[in-house]
Amino acid sequence: MASPGRRAAGGNSLLRAARSASLWFLLLTAALLLADGYLIFMVAPTDAVLGDVQRIFYIHVPISIISFLGFFVCAVAGIAYLIRRSERWDRLAHASAEVGVIFVTLALVTGVIWARPVWGVWWTWEPRLTTTLILWLIYVAYLMIRHYAPTPQQGRSWSAVVGIIGFIDVPIVYYSVQWWRSIHPVQVIGPEAADDALEPIISRILIFSLIAILMLACYLVMERMMLRAAEDNITELRRQQQDASPDY
């Protein structure tokens, strides 16, 4: 078995390589996000009815979709963790859930800011908003379970179950605008979106925005996973040091 020092050194070289890769990924993401900003503010047409505030749509929709994707990855990684009990799957589930919570929080906030001038209210208990708030609560609970569980092992297993069951709310959020017709606009992306839901230029900019923000989400998940890996290495090193020298 490798000594803790050697393990840490190996971990360090892996972390250095990952850090270098993540820096290049960050630069590419930053370039895409700058281009996205240019497209949103300089190229996208101003909405004839709602005016400039409709440009919020170009971040609100991608952020919402990517939060769904984050929770999907969390659920799949949670299933894999329960089957294989591998730390890597747990790290991926944890990172995806945390980034998913950041994104769904921003989806709610940007939606609220858009709703005030368009609907005349900051918040209304309509189905899309309510189911999204429930989604937010489920995954905040996921993160709290990890933190407050009696042992880290129980936290991982319990949160994996919450992550899997919680994902049931994602299709409910997506289809809520059709199942309970309300004031929220219908889907513009995904299986239920009409082919002519958007003008081609708007559609293209939205897809570009989706790719740029997806890259940002991937970067954040990678950073979170690397942080967890470093934290796990520290815990393991401390444990082995204590085992080797009880007086340490």
């Binding site: 840490a8 360090n12 909405d47 400039d52 858009w114 950073e223 942080l227 520290i234 040091q241």
Partner: protein, 60 residues
């Protein structure tokens, strides 16, 4: 023809909130990771020193 409302403060607020949260989260992750890596290096060095130090000889 009536022009559409601009509502620029709302547009600014939505983008500002999103970017501030993204930057703050990314910055926090980066800072935490650097701190963790420094701690990992220190622990690793400490472990090596501990292993290389010969045990104290209490004598016969």
């Amino acid at each position: 023809m009536e022009l559409p409302p601009q509502n620029l403060p709302f547009l600014f607020a939505a983008f500002a909130v999103a970017w501030i949260v993204f930057f703050a989260y990314a910055g926090y992750m980066s800072w935490k990771r650097q701190t963790a890596q420094r701690e990992l290096r220190e622990l690793s060095d400490e472990w090596q020193t501990q292993r290389n130090t010969p045990p104290e000889n209490d004598g016969p």
